[in-house]
């Protein structure tokens, strides 16, 4: 077994509740779809079943396909579309197996009244989990519809060699609606008589509401105000009026606050608050400590929800990657039964792991209940920064025993706070001790694109470079000498050959320029990147001039989208490498706005960017939206060493 095969879901993504076998009223289906054939297919999520015993949650994927009498095909999936390309990929999978044109396939996503519960959309699970189930169901449908064969079971899915649609590049099927502004995101949903809501936020983390004067808001025209436990908010005819009403509430609100920690002492705090101490590696010859900052997803569309109560039933439109869990949260919050709640997730404006929760849904529903009218809550950017959650900061201790022959004999690697993904080194080392240690964290933390694997891979790949230098070896040769995994070797070879690594290592470079390499493996896909950077001699900050990244995720289903995901990952990772760092002081964010928290911009895009996709048709398809983020940070850190002679051990890089 290769490292990485032993897939372990992120602990922060273990939010999936029990597996519900959602019962659907068949009449509801046929009312919506007209006469036809409905195929339901249960298939096991093979990878999820290989999780370690304590996290094992063997589940089935419940794929449903409806073929109407007019030939229209509808695929039902509980997955969501947030820009990662699931909708198009699911349509392609069904069209391929049914042998129908892509245009004839409609995809119904994430509606708790219509679709099966496919759990959370996260962890690059749609491609290896849901797609095979949909293909299987579509293959069964094809067999069933074939009057000659009448085969209802055991219809084989097409071999990749026979693919006509899968493996070709397709863009979003609803692109026209996007470019014309016609697509309705959750924040665009409007209902008859709808009001706009605004929530009274605490001044700092941990502050509790002692008292608030609702009359201050209620005396404003057309304002509904409510306080319920720690929640207080208003709804009004416009967002403007709702904001004014909440300002009136805030003026008279009394809060109890307690001192909170600050980002200035973050890493010493994490070490102090580690729930376990790890004994140092015996005989260690090299040791280093790495830091990665708290960062935020900051999706373009902040959290939004529209809630409507009708005859005791609640319908919520919201942007979340976890529709069934949000439904359950609403059930719990309002003490009602599951059949009384429907959560609909329109394709929304980005998440990258940041929308696993349903805060806006609960807030909108509470206000709507009070108002007796539908209410929309759309978080401001400031609210999104402060009250969403963060990718956890990481403190990582790495140490090793490097012998006189330049061979790694022992390895110790401890991640404090950020998680265990990609904790295991892919390099061949006889003695290894790799551990994740939880800490009492100062901020609310959760999933993020590739989550902990970014920090773990950064520290490991930066440390490998230090060890290569200590051994007097070229960074690429040193890695290869310790690397058995053929897939990682292949992407490393592809990226370095294309980049001209061996030649460029020997060449004299322009002043302040350096090159670096890094690789990684996660969620059953592999990546390697070579970069050239320029370091500003005054500020010592890097600029990315060139990146060549090779990525392999098995058989590629939609190369156009895979390429977009790889490009997006590199550039999102670049923001965290260059600048992104959440700062906080005594429970308040001090840079929670785009003018202070500088995400990747157009001018950061390197002039040269080359993506090499290695298509392995004989390998199962893996997701492509996460792993490609892993290499850019460490490759740039390693390139900075070449320029400055100083090791960079933190992200942002400095």
């Amino acid at each position: 077994m290769q490292p990485g095969d032993n897939f372990e879901p992120e602990r922060f993504e273990l939010r999936e509740g029990p597996l519900y076998h959602f019962e659907v009223d068949r009449r509801e289906f046929f009312c919506a779809l007209g006469a036809g054939v409905l195929i339901t297919c249960l298939s096991s999520d093979a990878v999820a079943q290989t999780t370690s015993p304590q996290t094992a949650n063997p589940r089935t994927i419940d794929a449903r396909i409806h073929v109407a009498d007019d030939g229209t095909v509808t695929v039902f999936s509980g997955k969501v579309e947030e820009g990662q390309g699931a909708r198009t990929e699911l349509a392609m999978a069904a069209a391929e197996e049914l042998g129908v044109p892509l245009e004839r396939v409609r995809v119904q996503l994430a509606d708790t009244s219509l679709t099966p519960d496919d759990g959370l959309t996260a962890g690059s699970r749609t491609t290896p989990g849901t797609i095979p189930a949909v293909r299987q169901a579509a293959a069964v449908a094809r067999g069933y519809l074939d009057a000659e064969r009448k085969a209802k079971t055991g219809a084989p899915v097409k071999a990749p060699a026979d693919w006509r649609l899968l493996g070709t590049g397709k863009w979003r099927t609803d692109a026209r609606d996007i470019v014309t502004g016609a697509h309705k995101y959750p924040s665009d949903v409007a209902r008859e008589g709808m009001l706009y809501g605004c929530v009274l936020r605490p001044p700092a983390y941990g502050a509790t509401l002692e008292s608030v004067d609702l009359d201050a808001a209620r005396k404003l025209a057309g304002v509904v105000a409510v306080k319920d436990g720690d929640f207080a908010g208003c709804a009004a005819r416009t967002s403007y009026a709702a904001r004014k009403a909440v300002e009136a509430l805030a003026a008279g609100a009394r809060w109890q606050t307690a001192p909170r920690s600050s980002s200035a002492t973050l890493f010493s705090d994490l070490r102090e608050k580690a729930r376990e101490k790890v004994a140092p590696l015996a005989g260690s010859t090299h040791a280093a400590t790495f830091h990665t900052a708290y960062v935020q997803h900051a999706p373009m569309e902040p959290r939004a929800a529209v809630a409507e109560w009708q005859d005791g039933k609640l319908t919520v439109w919201t942007g979340t990657s976890n529709p069934f869990s949000v439904r359950d949260a609403l059930v719990q919050a309002f003490h009602i039964t599951k059949d009384k709640v429907r959560v609909i997730v329109p394709d929304f404006g980005g998440g990258c792991g940041g929308k696993h929760t349903g805060e806006a849904a609960i807030e909108a529903a509470r206000l709507a209940k009070e108002a007796g009218k539908p209410v929309k809550v759309h978080w401001t950017r400031a609210e999104e920064f402060m009250w969403a959650y963060f990718r956890p900061a990481a403190l990582i201790d790495a140490s090793a025993v490097l012998n006189r022959d330049g061979v790694l004999e022992a390895w110790q690697f401890t991640n404090y706070n950020s998680g265990g993904a990609a904790l295991q080194t892919p390099y061949r080392i006889a003695r290894k001790q790799e551990k994740y240690v939880a800490c009492d964290a100062p901020l609310r933390q959760g999933s993020y694109r590739a989550l902990a694997s970014t920090a773990n891979n950064f520290a490991r790949e930066a440390f490998m470079d230090e060890l290569a230098a200590a051994a007097g070896r070229d960074p690429l040769d040193f890695r290869m000498a310790h690397l058995d995994n053929e897939r990682i070797r292949a992407v490393l070879t592809a990226a370095t050959e294309r980049f001209g690594w061996a030649r460029r290592r020997k060449e004299k470079r322009a002043p302040n320029r350096g090159i670096g390499v890094a690789c990684g493996m996660e969620k059953n896909s592999v990546v390697a990147a070579c970069v050239e950077i320029e370091v500003d001699p005054r500020t010592l900050t890097p600029r990315l001039l060139e990146i060549v990244e090779a990525f392999e995720c098995g058989a590629i289903l939609n190369p156009a989208n895979t390429r977009s995901q790889v490009e997006g990952c590199i550039l999102m990772g670049l923001g965290a490498a260059l600048r992104e760092e959440i700062q906080f002081e005594n429970g308040r964010l001090t840079n929670g706005r785009f003018s202070a928290y500088k995400v990747t911009r157009l001018h950061d895009v390197p002039p040269k960017m080359e993506i090499l996709l290695l298509d392995r048709r004989n390998q199962p398809s893996a997701g492509a939206g996460e792993t490609p983020i892993l290499a850019v940070g460490p490759a740039m850190a390693n390139a900075m060493f070449e320029v400055t002679g100083k090791r960079v051990r933190s992200m942002p890089l400095r």
Partner: protein, 161 residues
């Protein structure tokens, strides 16, 4: 409250509202034009871009009274039921969207650029779009789309950088 009169997407509109309300909210909430997006409220992401007298502005920071008596164009009217504007078509052809939430603002910025400079240089394209944020970081495809709309080859664009 004040009576505000302006022209939106070719139609004269008048409405009574607070004069300091952001134009963005009036467009979205009063006129139902939700193609214009809220992204940050501080003019830093440009998702809320509309054209005021043909010039791109951030509608989140523009009080509605500043638009009184003026012509506004939102994303809904760029194609106006007809064939797509060449920038829109280029975004479709180049797959220049992931979640697509930034797309209306990007498209309007690019359309305004091409109005001003039908054959923009690479430097002009970068300058026109640099402040528009895309958190999917789909910038390479967005650039490819704008270059395509401008009739520029990718090779020529790289040579210019």
């Amino acid at each position: 409250m004040a009576m505000i009169r302006f022209t939106v997407n070719g139609e004269p509109r008048s409405l009574e509202t607070e004069p300091d309300r952001p134009l963005l909210e009036v467009l979205r909430e009063d006129l139902g034009l939700t193609g214009t997006k809220y992204g940050c409220g501080e003019g830093q992401c440009r998702a809320c871009t509309v054209l005021l007298e043909g010039r791109p502005i951030v509608s989140c920071l523009t009080p509605v009274q500043a638009a009184a008596g003026k012509k506004i164009l939102t994303i809904e009217a760029l194609a106006a039921g007809g064939p797509l504007h060449r920038v829109q078509q280029a975004f479709v052809d180049e797959g220049a969207m992931q979640c697509g939430y930034c797309t209306p603002g990007m498209v309007l910025r690019a359309a305004a650029l091409l109005d001003q400079f039908p054959k923009p240089t690479e430097v002009q394209i970068l300058a026109a779009l640099d402040g528009s944020l895309c958190r999917c970081c789909g910038y390479p495809r967005i650039l490819a789309a704008v270059r395509r709309a401008a009739g520029m080859t990718t090779e020529a664009a790289y040579a210019a950088r």
